[in-house]
């Protein structure tokens, strides 16, 4: 910067300050827009940083060690256990689902599905297990008389009406309740938030007493290791992998302590950030409107300064500095709100996420929010400023200084473009999911372009209409295309605002639909897990005798982990984020001779009956697409420590929403049969028979766990409800931003038209005449814009649900109609009231000179 240039900035600042001194009356909407947008982004950023920080700070406790190694259906072998224990302290546990019942009640008494955890003496390696009363480990779990001890979660106490000292049946064994669980440090690492029942904890040495440890039972064996500081966990893991390349275990590091929650936080955080950004974008339109309106009032001043020898560049600087100063105020206010939000939000979050929010100031999140705010103010504020600087000074000679509506000089157009690109880039760079962020940016740009084009089309159409007989209609139509018409800004602001509302209304509607809908039609009543092969026949016989059982399907199930895809190790393979879940943990696998009924083959052929050639596998078509593999490629799966490589023979379409038994992978017969396995059964039944079925099966087969689909869905719904709360909060933000901008746009256009209406009044128009023109003009604009917003918003809702939340989208015409009509009517009402008020004012002051 030359010294001349620097001096010019100093001078510009001096003059800017002089103007700012006279107050910020015209900037209320401007400030509010920026504050709301920045606050939303800062709040979401701070809250998710707070959650992530909690997960990070407590990662050791949450994971239960520095590294956790998990096996399914089989414990670690002697050699493996020895190796795991050599470098650090080792703690092993087993987790599974089980049925428990109070020993005091008979075979008809209440029972509950629980999450059973059997721990060794070393547990926990980090943090403390807290119980009420506090007991030594021996007193808690050890044998007293002939019974071992058990600790249970408070929910079980409520559910079964048991208390400390009572005897609880866990599977086949009887245990004495010694304490109530108060805090389990690694609660989140296991089933995480999707637990199907209350926690019940026993000693690992007592697991045998339950009789639940059957071959092929769905038991997760976790080995947690506390490493000395001198050992790098990565080295340790590398060593473990070389030593036991085919163990098939899942190794988790500290940064994967609570992956489900982390992902949930990221997803919801991303969605809320997008809403915040949209609010900011809508706010940007408000910023542009507010700046335009402010500068419209400054045209004479600008022309005067130019007459006094100020070059256009100086004018741009004077007003840009004013706007950036005010933007600074708005941004700081937004940041303050953003910092305070996590404190307020932690209560709400605690209701559905078992993670504390580490409240505090997160400079990173605040910096990002501030950057978003500044870029928005610059990108949307510079344009009108640069345009205003084009006001010809000579117009002062004519005493008629009209706002300029031309395109600003190329250099400012370029800066604006750079600002917008930077805004988009920032959105993409700061998002956890680049792909989604790109879609968001593209979608937002497309939406803005659409509304801008529609605004132009409305103006063109209005011009084309020609002479209309009805004077009110003629004036209204003329107002849509005259020079300086607010049509573009109203359409843009109204359009974007309504689109956000429609999007959120539909996302919210679809979420509640998921919760409301009792059970998907055709959903089973029960899943029974851990059926032993020799229990199948008696199980089916038992169900055949119960009235109300409609259908029973059972299949063998093993758990397997995909270890390589088309010859590439799964960890290093390129996989679409939407299909990553398939390699994350263990998946159920089965084999079958016949094609399944409920998932049609969409590509390739099912193997012939009595097939006994090389091993083939049938894969879910979506997963195949995500993996980038097709028929003829190979897939390697580790089942119980053995690797099975199969060639993909066909692809199936699976509808996961049906809740029937679905396997991502079905193998050809002849290979997996030898492995120890259990069966999974689904039972369709009349709801009235559910209690009897649960009782009958679990009394007869103590090792079998009954998962009531209704209860399982409720757990999921609890989380969905939490997300719904977040979405509704976001709706509030969008609503505030949208309303602000619309109010701003209408107010700005108001000022422009008050003079017109006053002149009309002088010429003899009644208030009603003027009003009719207004209602017609905005009614017309509202109708076109709202219809378009309904479409744009529906597309956005579909995208959010489909790609961000993995939920099916159903168009909700009433919700959409109600949203757009409601919003339009409210806006019209605000406009009418405002106009009526201004029309009531005295005519004279406005007509007097200056």
């Amino acid at each position: 910067m030359s010294s001349e240039d620097a001096a010019s900035w100093t001078l510009a600042w001096r003059l800017a300050r002089r103007e700012l001194r006279s107050g910020v009356r015209g900037f209320r909407v401007f400030l509010a827009c920026l504050t709301v947008g920045v606050a939303a982004i800062a709040a979401v950023g701070s809250t998710s940083s707070g959650l992530t920080a909690s997960l990070g700070n407590d990662a050791r406790e949450i994971l239960g060690g520095d590294v956790a190694v998990r096996l399914v259906q089989r414990p670690a072998q002697q050699s493996e256990q020895r190796h795991l224990g050599t470098t650090g302290r080792l703690s092993g546990s087993a987790e599974m689902r089980a049925m428990v019942q109070s020993d005091a009640v008979g075979p008809n008494g209440a029972r509950s599905l629980v999450e059973l955890k059997a721990v060794d003496d070393a547990y926990p390696l980090y943090g403390a297990l807290e119980t009420e009363p506090r007991l030594s480990r021996q007193d808690l779990f050890g044998r007293r008389g002939e019974l071992s001890g058990v600790a249970v979660a408070p929910q079980l106490v409520d559910r079964l009406g048991v208390s400390v000292g009572d005897i609880l049946r866990v599977g086949d064994g009887r245990f004495e309740i010694r304490a109530i669980l108060a805090h389990e440090p690694d609660r989140l690492a296991g089933s995480g938030i999707f637990s199907l029942g209350p926690r019940v904890m026993i000693a690992k040495s007592a697991l045998a007493e339950t009789g639940l440890e059957q071959p092929g039972s769905l038991i997760y064996y976790t080995y947690r290791v506390a490493l000395p500081d001198s050992v790098d966990p990565e080295d340790w893991i590398a060593d473990l992998n070389t030593e036991f390349p085919d163990a098939g275990w899942r190794i988790r590091r500290l940064d994967e302590a609570a992956p489900q929650i982390r992902r949930l936080v990221q997803r919801v955080g991303l969605f809320l950030t997008f809403v915040g950004l949209t609010a900011l974008l809508v706010g940007g339109v408000g910023v542009a409107n507010a700046v335009s309106a402010y500068l419209d009032g400054k045209t004479a001043v600008i022309a005067t300064l130019k007459c006094l020898g100020a070059p256009a560049r100086l004018i741009v600087r004077i007003y840009l500095l004013q706007i950036l100063t005010l933007a600074g105020v708005g941004i700081i206010a937004g940041l303050v709100l953003g910092v305070l939000t996590p404190f307020a939000a932690s209560g709400v979050i605690a209701a559905f996420l078992p993670v504390p929010v580490s409240t505090g100031i997160y400079p990173g999140a605040l910096l990002i929010a501030a950057l978003f705010g500044s870029l928005t103010a610059l990108s949307f504020g510079l344009w009108p400023v640069a345009r205003a600087a084009q006001i010809p000074a000579g117009s002062l000679f004519r005493n008629l200084v009209a706002p300029v509506r031309a395109r600003p000089p190329a250099v400012y157009v370029a800066i604006t473009a750079v600002g917008l690109v930077a805004l988009a880039a920032l959105a993409v760079v700061t998002a956890d999911d680049t792909g989604l962020a790109l879609w968001f940016v593209g979608g937002a740009a497309a939406a803005m372009a659409t509304f801008r084009i529609v605004a132009a089309l409305i103006a063109i159409a209005a011009r084309r209409v020609g002479n209309l007989r009805q004077p009110a209609v003629r004036l209204a139509v003329a107002a849509l295309h005259r020079p300086g018409t607010p049509t573009p800004s109203v359409v843009l602001a109204l359009g974007l605002g309504l689109s956000v509302l429609v999007t959120i209304a539909q996302v919210d509607g679809n979420l509640s639909r998921q919760i409301r809908e009792e059970l998907p039609t055709g959903a089973p009543a029960f899943f029974f897990i851990d059926l032993q092969p020799n229990q199948i026949a008696p199980f089916e016989a038992l169900l055949a005798d119960i009235d109300g059982v409609e259908k029973t399907v059972q299949v063998p199930m093993l758990r397997g982990r995909i270890t390589s895809i088309a010859g590439v190790a799964a960890e290093t393979a390129t996989i679409d984020p939407n299909s990553r879940w398939a390699i994350r943990g263990d998946r159920g696998v089965t084999w079958s001779e016949a094609a399944p009924e409920n998932s049609p083959v969409v590509e390739g052929e099912w193997w012939q009956a009595h097939y006994d050639g090389p091993q083939l596998v049938s894969l879910d078509a979506d997963v195949a697409a995500g993996f980038g593999v097709g028929i003829g490629d190979t897939l390697t799966v580790n089942v119980l420590g053995r690797e099975f490589t199969a060639t993909i023979a066909n692809l199936r379409h699976i509808d996961w929403q049906t809740l029937s038994i679905n396997f991502v992978m079905i193998f050809s017969p002849g290979f997996l049969e030898a492995a120890p396995r259990s069966h999974i059964a689904i039972v369709h039944a009349d709801p009235a028979a559910e209690a009897e079925i649960e009782r009958g099966v679990t009394n007869a087969f103590r090792n079998v766990s009954a998962v009531r689909v209704r209860d399982a869905l409720e757990t999921v719904n609890g989380i969905v409800t939490g997300i719904g709360t977040a979405v509704r909060l976001a709706a509030l933000v969008a609503l505030v931003a949208g309303t602000l901008v619309l109010a701003g746009a209408i107010a700005a256009s108001h000022r422009r038209r008050v003079y017109d209406s006053v002149v009309l009044k002088v010429l003899g128009a009644t208030r009603r005449n003027v009003m009719t023109i207004f209602v017609l003009e905005y009614g017309l604009l509202g109708l076109v814009t709202a219809s378009l917003a309904a479409i744009v918003g529906s597309i956005a809702a579909w995208a959010v649900l489909r790609f961000l939340m993995n939920i099916d989208w159903v168009l909700m015409p009433q919700t959409v109609a109600l949203t757009v009509i409601g919003a339009t009517v409210i806006i019209l009402a605000i406009g009418v009231v405002g106009t009526w008020h201004t029309l009531g004012q005295k005519t004279a002051p406005l007509l007097r000179n200056d």
Partner: protein
């Protein structure tokens, strides 16, 4: 006040080049394309004004008086013809250079005053001095306001001043940079008779003191007669150059 960065110092009437024209318009045409077709606003305008002259510009409404002033101030570019003002050929200057030219050489007074409403009287007068990077801008502005009799109204805002007072501030502002040329477009049009006379007295007094060339548009014949020469416009042409002094 002599440290003003003014290259035209030597053209003062007291200097050797006193008789050299400060404004020279020759065959100036201005066409504007408007919705109703092409409008010819100036049609071959010739005008020569010597430094130190006071010119009264008269003519019927719509004859192009204001437009001519805009051309002289470099606020409007003619379609053809040459415009020389204070030694500069305006057609050769770009927008920034024109701004600089106005800042140095031209002061303008409007019918509607056009003070900046968010600035006090003294700030309004200081603005052009600030643009010219003059260090003691405020002292000069204060002094300038005192000479128009507003020494006690320095911190008042335009809305707190009467029309006549506002116009006096505008005059102080126009003279603040001691321009060679002062353009005034009906400066008394918004003022009552007495106040108008008072303002015009100040205008002439200032022009005489600084030796400023004055171009004064007015509908008031009597007022025009106070000038050393009266120029008459009709249909975008000068129809009477007045009695050009030797």
């Amino acid at each position: 006040m002599m440290d003003l960065p003014d290259p035209q110092q030597s053209q003062r009437p007291d200097g050797a080049t006193a008789a050299k024209p400060i404004v020279e318009l020759s065959d100036v045409h201005l066409h504007l394309a408007s919705a109703g077709g092409k409008v010819n606003i100036l049609r071959g305008l010739d005008l020569s004004v010597n430094a130190g002259e006071t010119i009264g510009v008269v003519g019927p409404s719509g004859s192009g008086k204001s437009t001519m002033m805009m051309v002289i101030a470099g606020l409007e570019r003619p379609t053809s013809g040459t415009v020389r003002v204070a030694g500069s050929e305006l057609a050769t200057l770009n927008e920034d250079a024109l701004a600089l030219f106005r800042r140095r050489s031209v002061g303008i007074v409007f019918q509607a005053f056009h003070l900046v409403p968010t600035m006090s009287a003294v700030e309004n007068v200081a603005v052009p001095l600030e643009f010219a990077r003059i260090d003691d801008a405020f002292e000069r502005a204060r002094a300038s306001l005192e000479t128009v009799g507003l020494g006690d109204r320095l911190t008042h805002y335009p809305s707190q001043l009467s029309g006549g007072e506002q116009q006096r501030v505008a005059i102080a502002r126009a003279f603040a940079t001691e321009p060679n040329l002062l353009l005034a477009d009906e400066p008394t049009g918004n003022l009552d008779g007495d106040t108008g006379t008072q303002v015009i007295d100040i205008l002439f007094e200032r022009a005489a003191r600084f030796g400023t060339t004055l171009l004064l548009i007015t509908h008031d014949r009597g007022l025009a007669q106070r000038c050393s020469r009266v120029v008459q416009l009709r249909d975008g042409r000068i129809v009477d150059h007045g009695n050009t002094p030797p």
